[in-house]
């Protein structure tokens, strides 16, 4: 009798697929937490600004070199900052064993993966948008192919870091040397996506006379699809075992 009552309370036939609802709830929860503390965003902004600034100091007053490689410096700043973002996203789940609390609700582990990965990607996109004017001011670049294309590259590149980053962040969150482990696992893996994002950003900034942008965007889309699918398959094992 009791279990029937529980089933009635807990499992109404949903209009929207349950995975979408749960993903939206996890994403919403992470955004509320982010907005309430803003520690992660503030740290990311200052860290990435400092990184861009360091590159300009390290390379000296050679504006041509800075301008030519602006895409590379931009994406390295985002990649380095992503380690902070990804690590923090699972620190809040370790506190009070909240991740166990989610698992035992129960909730589909895929929804946790999708919600957290989308939240991380969104944070990186916001960071990228904030970095753009700094990059323009520091390196003197102009956007030859329009901000729409630049935003597309930024969104695809951020997601390409976020899908595998979320899985590795969950793995590393249980390790003692988690701060070292995450970049060690993540950086080699995202190299193809980083290369594609840097090349695509360079083309959007300086122009694309050889029509290469489509190929680099294609590589980014393929990378996203592969790691989105792998994340969905692997993440439940990672948090259950």
């Amino acid at each position: 009798m009791r279990s029937t009552a529980v089933a009635q309370v807990g499992r109404k036939r949903p209009v929207v697929p349950r995975l979408f609802t749960e993903t939206a709830l996890i994403l919403g929860k992470d955004l509320i937490l982010e907005w309430r503390t803003r520690t992660r965003l503030n740290a990311l902004i200052f860290f990435s600004f400092a990184t861009l600034l360091m590159f300009s100091f390290a390379l000296g007053p050679d504006t041509k070199l800075l301008k030519e490689n602006a895409g590379g410096y931009f994406w390295l700043a985002i990649l380095f900052s992503s380690v902070l973002a990804l690590g923090e996203s699972f620190r809040i789940e370790r506190e009070n064993a909240s991740l166990d609390g989610l698992r035992l609700v129960p909730i589909d582990a895929k929804a946790i993966f999708l919600g957290k990965a989308l939240g991380n990607a969104l944070l990186l996109v916001v960071l990228g948008i904030l970095l753009l004017p700094v990059m323009v001011a520091l390196y003197g670049v102009t956007v030859a192919m329009g901000f729409g294309r630049l935003f597309a590259v930024l969104a695809l590149g951020s997601m390409a870091i976020s899908w595998p980053g979320t899985v590795y962040s969950a793995i590393a969150s249980n390790a003692r040397a988690r701060d070292v482990l995450l970049p060690l696992l993540l950086f080699p893996l995202v190299l193809p996506a980083l290369l594609a994002a840097v090349k695509a950003t360079g083309l959007v900034l300086h122009g694309d006379p050889m029509l290469q942008l489509g190929s680099w965007l294609g590589l980014l889309i393929a990378f996203n699809l592969i790691y989105w699918a792998l994340g969905l398959a692997l993440f439940p094992q990672v948090i259950e075992d």
Partner: protein, 217 residues
């Protein structure tokens, strides 16, 4: 004579951490609507046992069935019917009490009404702190909110790990009343506590653990 329907069946369950056995070939059963008190010194395996029944961790060997469902095969269905009150609160520190309960409510039922959240907060005496983030709560208040979390889930089997810990005397009485209400509504209770007298007042059976084994109390 028909068999008594069982809420929890633990068959030959062992759990190993590295070289140490936290549970060693443990077997027992709790009937539906029944109550079991787990006693034992620190490190005797009470928490590990409760976490294993709740499917938070997997046993190294043996099987556990909850309301006839295998915890390995039917993990999600078991989780729908079981609630664990743990040493850790499962709460998000930077969400308010209300937001913590709303998140759980909506994960269980999409259209979970806000009025029910208020009633759960009132029941544990936290209605006046509904809009405050958990980070500002004392240990006792966190425990109360964790109890509200458990009640919101309306479990068929409630696993209570040191439910009286960190509570003031008034809240202990309230907790005893809550456990009694859960029992009278047909919820199966498995309760682990060092407060043996209080536990014996609430539970019909007792299991004493020592180094992961059931021994005579």
């Amino acid at each position: 004579m028909g068999q008594i329907p069982l809420a929890v069946e633990v068959n030959d369950v062992s759990k190993r951490y590295g070289t140490r056995w936290a549970l060693a070939r443990l077997s027992f059963a709790v009937p539906r609507g029944g109550s079991l008190l787990l006693t034992g010194s620190n490190g005797s395996g009470k928490t590990t046992l409760l976490r294993t029944i709740a499917t938070a961790i997997r046993p190294t060997a043996g099987t556990i069935r909850v309301l006839g469902l295998d915890t390995r095969e039917d993990r999600q269905q078991v989780r729908e019917r079981v609630a664990l009150l743990s040493h850790t609160s499962f709460l998000y520190e930077d969400l308010t009490a209300e937001q913590n309960l709303r998140l759980l409510g909506r994960l269980i039922e999409v259209d979970f009404p806000s009025s029910r959240i208020e009633s759960f907060l009132q029941r544990v005496g936290l209605a006046h702190r509904a809009k405050h983030p958990v980070r500002q709560f004392s240990a006792g208040m966190r425990k109360r909110l964790a109890i509200a979390r458990l009640l919101l889930k309306a479990p068929s089997v409630a696993l209570l790990d040191e439910p009286f810990g960190e509570l003031d005397p008034e809240a202990v009485i309230e907790m005893e009343r809550t456990i009694a209400e859960l029992q009278s509504s047909g919820t199966t209770i498995v309760l682990a506590t060092h407060l043996v007298e209080q536990g014996l007042n609430l539970c019909r059976e007792r299991l004493h653990l020592s180094e992961g084994r059931a021994v005579a109390a």
